[in-house]
């Protein structure tokens, strides 16, 4: 009897003790220790690049050095702006840390700065997000530290009065706090940040532009851009991927005012971490809202090669204010997923009535207007880069990067007889748009091209660019010629 009692007591002890032992085993997560160990310097990247995922299985002390500077940089071709930056670029450097890390933040304000600056990191738990602690005069450094308690993708920005001005001039970026278990592996990660610029001159007006306080207060920007300038991710600077790869985009919105309707033309987001949180909130999404001072993480696999256009689907911002980026996907076609155009034929509508001429009738081309062009050597280089940029932003979506258009839909510009034989008709098409049937290189097209709303200089630049490409005649189109065509039509319409 006694023996039995002893056995029960001993076994109870053993069970209790082992249970206790299990509880005390460090880190309830497998192999993750919450003990802060080691010190490292954060590796920061400029958009569109993202630092490597953090592989350590414990938090660390992470030292971040970030310098605020005031620099003149390109906002669009021929347009400059005094940007206030975190690290020399807009958006600011991407910071990547892990949940539980203890961050020592050194904010250096360049001796050449005219303004004091500070930083409010939305990843910081504490009043002001570090703003007061990091308030720094030019030529000085402030240090403060914080522990990142909440994982997620956070915006940081300057919060020095007047706050709106410091943000409007470019002072924002993203800090990613990886959850302790990390994020699922993907093939490519990109950093994209949308923001607006309020300039005294309207969109495209060249020269050094100054901040327009009135436009900012009215929330009426001249520019809405990705990664700090028009064309930051188009042409040679497009994002690239291979077919089959899974892409993760860390998208922030610096504002200062507008909410973004972020969309990738031709793709569907397989997963969204809504508002930059750590949970997949939705799958199969076309357009996601990104608030000013907020973020989102989107993931998708690219299944079809080609060029994908990133836009703010508040669409006039994309086509008239610069909110366009590109991702070029290489690889073999898969006709089952996407065939491209297979057939095109006449559709007369449901009535029996003959086709009504809705527009001004077929375009007649006045051959006598063809003229010899003298090249203006001056500012030719300038015009050509401006033209290229306008082409990419305005024309390329239809006429394609190689100028070949799309069969039966968008006529080619490459080696186009329509274009090369009559300059005035070409100018007219860009200035006033074009509709009705035309014949290009022996093929008929019957579409509608809306006028792209370019000024004379822009029209001359883009046409000169088009004439210089893809085996075209090399003609130069001057501003005066554009003005002439613009004047004529206006006169005749009166």
């Amino acid at each position: 009897m006694k023996k039995r009692l002893m056995l029960v007591i001993v076994s109870t002890f053993v069970i209790a003790f082992s249970a206790l032992f299990i509880f005390l085993t460090p880190g309830c997560e497998e192999s993750y220790s919450s003990q802060v160990r080691g010190t490292e310097n954060a590796k920061l990247t400029s958009a569109p690049y993202v630092p490597q995922p953090i592989t350590r299985n414990h938090p660390a002390k992470v030292i971040v050095d970030l310098e605020t500077t005031e620099v003149v940089k390109r906002l669009a071709d021929g347009v400059e702006y005094v940007f206030w930056t975190f690290g020399g670029d807009v958006p600011g450097k991407f910071i990547r840390v892990k949940e539980g890390d203890e961050v020592v933040f050194n904010l250096h304000n360049s001796p050449n700065s005219k303004m004091p600056h500070n930083i409010d990191l939305h990843a910081v738990t504490g009043p002001g997000g570090g703003a007061e602690a990091s308030f720094t005069a030019p030529g000085h450094t402030s240090t403060f530290s914080f522990k990142v308690l909440n994982p997620g993708l956070y915006v940081y920005h300057c919060a020095t009065a007047p706050v709106g001005l410091h943000i409007a001039n470019g002072m924002y970026g993203l800090i990613l706090v990886e959850p302790k278990e990390g994020l699922p592996p993907v093939d490519k990660e990109f950093y994209i940040m949308q923001s607006e610029f309020y300039t005294e001159g309207s969109y495209g007006e060249t020269g050094l532009q100054i901040f327009s306080q009135n436009d900012a207060v009215d929330e009426n920007p001249s520019y809405v851009v990705f990664n700090g300038s028009v064309g930051s991710m188009t042409g040679d600077k497009s994002l690239t991927a291979k077919r089959g790869e899974t892409i993760r985009m860390y998208i922030g919105n610096g504002g200062p005012n507008l909410v973004s309707s972020f969309h990738v033309i031709g793709e569907i987001f397989d997963k969204i971490y809504g508002e930059g949180g750590t949970v997949v909130t939705q799958r199969n999404v076309q357009t996601t809202l990104i608030p000013a001072g907020g973020s989102a993480i989107v993931e998708f696999t690219v299944d079809v090669p080609g060029t994908y256009i990133l836009v703010d689907h508040s669409i006039f911002r994309a086509f008239n204010k610069g909110a366009i980026g590109m991702m070029k996907v290489s690889g073999d076609k898969d006709d089952v997923i996407y065939s491209g155009k297979q057939r095109e034929e006449i559709y007369l509508g449901s009535t029996e009535e003959p086709y009504q001429d809705m527009f001004s009738g077929p375009i007649t081309i006045d051959q006598t207007q063809t003229e010899q062009v003298t090249k203006e050597e001056s500012n030719e280089m300038d015009l050509s880069s401006l033209g290229k940029n306008i082409y990419q932003v305005t024309c390329q979506a239809c006429h394609q990067a190689n100028g070949e258009g799309l069969p039966n839909v968008f006529p080619p510009l490459a080696k186009s007889d329509y274009l090369n034989k009559n300059k005035e008709a070409a100018i007219d098409a860009v200035v006033h748009g074009l509709s009705g049937e035309i014949t290009v290189n022996g093929k008929k097209y019957n579409g509608l091209m809306p006028p792209p709303n370019l000024n004379n200089k822009q029209v001359s630049a883009v046409l000169t660019y088009v004439y210089s490409q893809w085996g075209n005649s090399g003609k130069t189109v001057t501003e005066e010629e554009v003005a002439k065509v613009r004047g004529k039509k206006n006169l005749s319409s009166k």
Partner: protein, 258 residues
């Protein structure tokens, strides 16, 4: 009838002009010395209102027409070697004190001798003023003087431009209605009580602070939320400590009327 009115209004105009000239003459003769002007008394509405004081009375005072130049400051340093770059005490000026100068007693090629002296601390500026028998202007006096300038946008424009490597000579900007130059366009300026502008680093919460003087605020209790240049100046001043020196911070002196 018409003619008579014309003559009348003509005389009126003449009188008006004469009167204006008289005032102009009077204001010229007021100026104590050629390098200072007498700023007339008046009221100044601070950027941040308090319940007690909506407007602040400014008594007339003398103010330097131009900021203190490198040449002026060199004279001071030569007469007071303890304020030279190598001798100055760290608590009175940080490591970048006069760093743009070539040597202790030689500004050198890199700076324009007629440009405002910069990279000077508040202590150094105050010592200079005292050596001259003057003082630094108060924030209120300084802000009152610039508030006579109505074109805020023009001021904004300077604040949002990058400082040139070599600062231009004093007097190269426009004349202020009170007759002083360079209140904006070249440099920031120290004021005697710069640290009473209580904009904290966290400007957005400042509206809740209860302070006797300029209760700092992001905007919620400021007199004019559109006066961005004023916000920038208050923000700038509050980022400073008295031993700080920076590339585009200089000063000018003031003096009591009596």
């Amino acid at each position: 009838m018409k003619k008579i009115t014309n003559i009348k209004s003509g005389t009126h105009k003449l009188l008006k002009n004469l009167f204006f000239l008289l005032i102009l003459f009077a204001s010229f003769s007021y100026g104590q010395t050629k390098d200072m002007v007498l700023v007339p008394a008046g009221y100044y509405e601070p950027l941040f209102k308090t319940e007690a004081e909506e407007k602040i009375r400014i008594e007339k005072f003398y103010l330097d027409v131009y900021p203190v130049t490198n040449t002026d400051f060199l004279e001071f340093v030569k007469a007071n070697p303890k304020w030279s770059r190598s001798k100055v005490k760290k608590i009175f000026a940080d490591a970048s004190y006069l760093k743009n100068w070539k040597d202790d007693f030689e500004p050198g090629e890199k700076v324009n001798p007629d440009a405002p002296v910069t990279c000077v601390s508040w202590f150094a500026a105050k010592a200079y003023a005292e050596w001259k028998g003057k003082r630094l202007p108060t924030v209120s006096e300084w802000e009152y003087t610039i508030s006579s300038e109505k074109n805020i946008e023009k001021i904004s424009e300077w604040y949002s431009k990058i400082s040139p490597v070599k600062i231009p000579s004093v007097g190269s900007t426009e004349k202020n209605p009170f007759g002083v130059y360079d209140m904006y366009g070249l440099i920031w300026e120290w004021t005697y009580d710069f640290n009473t502008a209580l904009v904290t680093g966290e400007s957005r919460g400042d509206g809740e602070l209860e302070r006797k003087m300029f209760c700092g605020s992001g905007s919620s209790n400021s007199k004019n939320v559109d006066d961005y240049p004023a916000f920038m100046r208050y923000g700038y001043r509050s980022s400073l400590k008295a031993n700080y020196t920076t590339n585009n911070l200089g000063f000018r002196c003031a003096k009591d009327y009596n």
